[in-house]
């Protein structure tokens, strides 16, 4: 699509332009992101080779020079005789042809519409909303208790671990949450308070307003 049509975040016409962080996460042996990279190296991944060439010092992380990385990938694709690179916006998917859709987080409206048609439009999401996950054995089970609301379980077990607050703990927690420092947005659109309707409908309920405040 680029440079014919750009996106709110990309700046060049190069393939594989990294628009957020320039880190491919830790490369320290024994970590999950390392395992994923190690498997890709065993599969001779072109992008991992490009990342290794573009590597800059970054401690344990595989950190790359964005320009070198994108140039390496662009050069490799251009040099491949079996690939024809077409710079145009794709907005129709021919269903009788084999197609890989890998249009990324800033998929154009036209292609999003087409994907909606292919999949059923209610199945396309435009914002990530990811909750934190903790390791089971780091939860203090002397404080928490297992229960489902009103003892109603979906599968006969106590579905939830519950962390009980007294009033003082709750007030301290909410104050900390409200004062917490948010991640700055990568693109202009993310500065807008777009999540208000979505977060009101989720399960935080009573503290919904607080969550909206924390997402800015």
């Amino acid at each position: 699509m680029r440079p014919t049509r750009s996106t709110p975040a990309h700046q060049t016409d190069r393939l594989a332009e990294l628009v957020c962080s320039n880190s491919l996460k830790t490369d320290a042996e024994g970590a999950a992101p390392w395992l994923l990279k190690e498997e890709l190296r065993r599969l001779d991944s072109l992008l991992l080779r490009a990342a290794d060439i573009a590597r800059v010092p970054g401690g344990h992380a595989l950190t790359v020079d964005r320009i070198v990385f994108a140039e390496e990938v662009t050069r490799a694709i251009a040099a491949e005789p079996l690939i024809e690179l077409r710079r145009e916006e794709a907005s129709v998917v021919a269903e009788d042809q084999i197609t890989i859709i890998a249009s990324g987080p800033l998929t154009s409206d036209a292609l999003a519409g087409e994907i909606g048609r292919l999949t059923g439009s209610d199945r396309l999401f435009f914002y990530d909303s990811i909750s934190p996950i903790v390791e089971a054995d780091s939860i203090d089970q002397n404080i928490t208790f297992r229960a489902s609301r009103y003892g109603k379980s979906l599968d006969g077990t106590d579905d939830y671990i519950n962390c009980p607050f007294n009033r003082e703990q709750y007030d301290r927690f909410i104050d900390a949450l409200l004062a917490g420092d948010s991640v700055p947005a990568h693109i202009e659109e993310d500065q807008t308070p777009f999540l208000k309707p979505a977060c009101r409908s989720r399960s935080w309920r009573g503290a919904g307003a607080i969550r909206c405040a924390s997402v800015r």
Partner: protein, 199 residues
Amino acid sequence: MKPMGLDDPRTGRRPYAVVQLRQENLRADSYNLVGFQNHLRFGEQARILRLIPGLEHAEFVRFGQIHRNTYINSPALLTPTLQLRRNPNVLFAGQISGVEGYVESIATGLVAGRFAADVALGRQLRRLPRETAIGSLCHYISAADPSDYQPANITFDLLPALDEATRQKLRRDKRARHAEICRRAIESMDQFLSQHAYV
């Protein structure tokens, strides 16, 4: 954080407020903080969420994130070979396929390319073993709970749990458990590569 219907069995009384943790389908040994999708810096999340009673010493598998993204509800739509169930000619890869992160995107792109080649050549699709990180990622995005799907980064809880004897033996040593999961993944990948002309 409403406490309705959640009496604390120790006190017999309803707490002032509660945070609920839920074990997610297909994730081993980890719990999701229900409704805590948030945008705070990761360091801030660690500090603030440890104020939750019972999470004072919590170790985080992942932190919350909220940002602009485009992705499909992959568990409702995709096969483990990243094909659209209703049209196997159409494959998805990268963030739109329900993974999060550069390397996860690279990984799904690589296997989607191989799957597409298999489809073109009319041969059996070659899936990476479930014991590998890539195999687990493909399994997760096609088999997780589709009712509230959240895109996945690679984390150890996506890989199959170790057998009970090994877990018991290594129960005090998380590094050793992770090392064992890595060893098993790489062994399984090497075995797969020796059996298939994949690279």
